[in-house]
Point group: C2
Chain length 186, copies 2
DNA sequence: CCGGTACCATACCACAGGGTATGGAGGCAC
DNA sequence: GTGCCTCCATACCCTGTGGTATGGTACCGG
């Protein structure tokens, strides 16, 4: 019996979150998933509220590290926009939908999710600014891209990433056609 | 004590749904809101599952009637697109967010919401087709418009309809600039 | 060998929520 | 009046969930 760490609970918690929303994240289910009892849970966390808070921060940190740092490593802004699109498609959409729903009823979840979304918007906007799009238009394009991502997250099942790719690609095409006539000629 | 009808429960149920998600829709809260006890609830509905199902259908019927019929009454397709945009902005976004989250964990809710979204997409796509946009592009624009609506629904508080208006308007501008050069010259 | 600490199982309590059974008050038909 | 139906209050049970208290096992430093 190797000992369980907080990371095990976070993994199981994200799975429960993705599968049944924040309401499905319960101590009994977590312990059942890990093959332990409540004594183990309360040894690692002070309560269910404490766990949910840590789980949320864990999601935000992971998202910040994986998505934004991976995007920042691409020097060319146009190529970076493609990278961002693929990173967005590869996200855990089920979990994100659950977090977005959760953030409507919980102030702390709202703040964390908002911070993540704003960071994503800024990343997209910065890339557009670098290729010559006016500042105000770039900011709006960042918000539009995140909105399309969130909107597409709420449609289709798990395997429907092609639809998101199609929508996201179309928005990029339209944007390029208007703001980047030199970079992406039609 | 005037007797309570199912409509009273639907109104209270939508308020609870908008305020705290599907998890907040509980028999005790419904009865507390209406000033009755559980005996009244179980007289009108067979159980909480039956009530939720009826509530969902009630939302879909209302949406179908208010939004789509109001849009269908506008003959000019370009003017109709503006009407659709304003109707989308005026929706009960809190309730819709709750329903969209609910539809990720409930098969029946998923089917009903999907039907509503598809109907909205078709309405937008039909308007674009009428003004001369190719069929495939019009369909994609319908999905893009609904995606932006859903994405914007998950940001900002209740009073932040200006942000949605701005995003929605920008998408419309970009669309017009590409597909409707004659109708909306830049 | 002994004490402390990390890790966890067991047992128990409190409370909220869904569901059921029963009875009562008022109206309406006959 | 009698009977029936609508509408609803009260009381009760069962389950699931958060939380606590307690004890037990294994390892590690001294």
């Amino acid at each position: 019996m190797e000992p369980r760490g907080p990371q095990d609970y976070f993994d199981a918690g994200m799975a429960l979150l993705a599968g049944g929303g924040v309401g499905a994240v319960t101590i009994a289910r977590l312990c059942s998933e890990l093959g332990v009892t409540k004594g183990s849970f309360y040894h690692h966390f002070r309560g269910v509220e404490d766990f949910k808070t840590q789980l949320l921060v864990h999601w935000a940190i992971d998202g910040e590290r994986q998505v934004l740092q991976a995007a920042a490593s691409v020097a060319d802004p146009v190529e970076r926009l493609d990278t961002i699109r693929e990173l967005g498609i590869a996200l855990n959409h089920e979990a994100e939908v659950a977090i977005r729903a959760w953030s409507r009823t919980d102030a702390h979840a709202w703040a964390v999710r908002e911070q993540v979304d704003v960071a994503r918007e800024r990343t997209v906007a910065a890339a557009y600014t670098e290729v010559g799009v006016p500042h105000e238009a770039a900011e709006l394009l960042g918000r539009l891209a995140v909105a399309v991502l969130v909107g597409a997250q709420h449609r289709g099942e798990t395997t429907d990433r092609d639809a998101l790719r199609q929508l996201y690609g179309r928005l990029q095409e339209m944007t390029a056609a208007i703001y980047l006539p030199a970079a992406a000629p039609r």
